[in-house]
């Protein structure tokens, strides 16, 4: 499967009379966008704002961030099983409005999280402060159920990204990247001497505000299976995960998963990157046993020499991570784990809720309990009152001068467990 990703660099977004890309500027016809994403009976009103890097703006609570993309060649469309038919994607050419994003916000439950600051110290902790964002503010009707609200906001975000992505259909990309994964036996014929590696991609799948969808299927209900890595770049995996802002994978992160992109860089040189094993993180322990048995079985079946395993979320997924690690290691396959830490504010406590000696190669996205003071910014998009009840905050988080003290777990993407962040550790 071969996919060309045509990146169209977007340096600014402005409202205009027509939705189009001209000279690296995305112009958005506001009314047409709102019309394209309206229609859900549960939503009372929709407004759209544009925010840019460096502006004194705080957006909260952020639900999802989505990159505008359009398929210009090859089977299927963006977000298969959600907005497009269920054709298998990942082949042909896809255009990307690189530097642009759709950001959805909504107070789905009273207790909230997800801060994106576009300037100041908080901006350094979120990858989304570096993008020009089209922020969708969707207000629900009174009495809406939480799952109806979450569904509506999720779909609105995807529709907005698809609408904007269409603006890139006939634009010549600034650069084209080519990603190719061949069927297993062909790939082995081509690189017989290289170690075979795969990516075990753990998806958050527990229930309300904790879900992920694969080709439109609730991933709680899957058994682990295989994807070509390029399928992910066309939106085969989307987020319905609104909890644990720092380490949830937004749809933007799924589309740009750095594990997949980086594995491609040395594919065919240092190793043979054969594909992606997706698996879930269910609450029921027998599900965890079954799924980890299957990831290990698939890893063995593919004849792998090594895997990278990434986790999503806090708490019980630590158990899935360790089960995957242990069972895959027992097959004689090397593992590297990607996670983040809840090591307490001083960083001295045990980082994960589970462990095993086989997890001897582990990369962390950072300590989510680390605190930060976010200064008052000029403009707030979303819900001001939410800040005092935000994850990682505490009574009095919102200070008299408008600054807030929170753990970095409140910041969207701060401790990404697939490495889509800027945190690093250095020893002196």
């Amino acid at each position: 499967m071969r996919l060309e990703i045509g990146n169209i660099n977007i340096q600014d977004i402005q409202f205009g009379d027509k939705t189009e890309v001209k000279n690296s500027i995305l112009y958005v016809e506001k009314e047409a966008l709102i019309n394209a994403i309206s229609g859900d009976d549960h939503i009372r009103s929709i407004d759209v704002e544009i925010v840019r890097p460096g502006e004194s703006v705080r957006i909260t609570p952020v639900k999802d961030v989505i990159e505008p993309r359009v398929k210009v060649d090859g089977p299927g469309g963006i977000f298969p099983g959600i907005l497009s038919k269920v054709d298998t994607v990942g082949e042909g050419r896809t255009h990307v409005l690189k530097g642009a994003a759709v950001m959805t916000t909504g107070k789905i439950v009273g207790f909230q999280e997800g801060i994106v600051d576009m300037t100041g110290p908080g901006a350094d902790f979120t990858p989304f402060s570096k993008l020009c964002n089209v922020v969708i503010i969707a207000e629900p009707h009174e009495g809406i159920k939480q799952h109806e609200h979450e569904y509506a906001v999720r779909l609105i975000g995807f529709k907005a990204a698809k609408f904007l992505g269409e603006a890139g259909r006939n634009v010549t990309p600034d650069d084209i990247e080519i990603y190719e994964t061949k069927p297993l036996f062909k790939s082995h014929e081509e690189f017989p001497d290289l170690p075979k590696v795969a990516y075990v991609y753990m998806l958050q799948t527990q229930g309300l505000l904790h879900d992920t969808y694969v080709y439109g299927v609730d991933a709680k209900k899957i058994v682990p299976t295989l994807l070509y890595p390029t399928e992910v770049m066309d939106g085969a995996i989307v987020s319905g995960n609104c909890v644990s802002a720092c380490d949830k994978n937004t749809t933007y992160i799924h589309l740009n998963n750095p594990v997949i992109h980086d594995l491609y860089k040395l594919h065919g040189k240092e190793y043979n990157f054969v594909g992606v094993i997706i698996t879930n993180e269910n609450v029921y322990l027998a599900d965890k046993e079954r799924s980890s048995n299957w990831t290990a079985k698939l890893a063995e079946y593919l004849g792998l020499d090594g895997v990278i395993i990434s986790e999503e979320g806090f708490g019980n997924p630590d158990t899935d991570l360790i089960m995957n690690c242990k069972k895959i290691s027992e097959k004689g396959i090397k593992t590297v784990l990607l996670t983040d830490e809840y090591a307490g504010r001083d960083g001295a406590s045990q980082s994960l809720a589970d462990s095993d000696p086989s997890g001897d190669a582990c990369v962390t996205g950072g300590n989510a309990n680390m605190t930060i003071i976010l200064p008052k910014l000029d403009r707030l998009i979303g819900h001001q009152e939410v800040i005092d009840v935000i994850a990682g905050g505490f009574d009095g988080s919102l200070r008299a001068d408008g600054s807030i003290e929170v753990e970095i777990q409140a910041i969207t993407g701060a401790t990404s467990e697939v490495g889509f962040n800027k945190m690093t550790a250095r020893m002196y």
Binding site: V109, G110, F111, Q146, H147, Q204, Q206, G207, L208, L209, H210, K220, N241, V243, S244, K248, N282, V283, Y284, L285, A286, D287, K288, G313, F314, G315, N316, D318, T319, Y342, G344, R345, S349, Q350, A353, D354, N369, V389, A391, F394, D395, E407, Q409
Partner: protein
């Protein structure tokens, strides 16, 4: 299956199931579950269900089933959950939430618990 919970919505939704309702906090549920594990019950659901932290949500619901022996894996899991709880609560105690927010936490705990056990029984 036996349900141990301090969530009134789970008590209501699983009326008719074998249940021990805990009038207490998140930690009280974990300790009650640990007691039951010592009395030869094993965990069916993970005690750290959900990404909402133990010092954020006050509610917890856990399913167990009888077991012939002391299930060491369950014991390790509940002890680790208690450690995680204590670590986070020592840094920042669970806030005094409004009724509206408490209701949301109940709904999320119920939804996660329901999806875990209903498809499996």
């Amino acid at each position: 299956m036996i349900v141990i919970t301090n969530n009134p919505k789970v008590r209501y939704a699983f009326e008719g199931s074998k249940m021990k309702f805990v009038e207490g906090q998140y930690l009280d549920v974990l300790i009650k579950v640990r007691d039951e594990i010592h009395k030869h019950f094993k965990l069916l659901t993970h005690p750290l269900s959900g990404s909402i932290k133990p010092n954020e949500t006050p509610y917890k619901s856990i399913a167990l089933e009888p077991c012939d022996i002391l299930d060491v894996n369950s014991l390790m899991m509940i002890e680790n959950a208690i450690l995680v709880h204590d670590k986070l609560v020592n840094d920042k105690p669970t806030p005094e939430w409004s009724d509206r927010i408490l209701e949301d936490f109940m709904i999320i705990d119920l939804d996660l618990f329901y999806h875990a056990v209903v498809k499996s029984v």
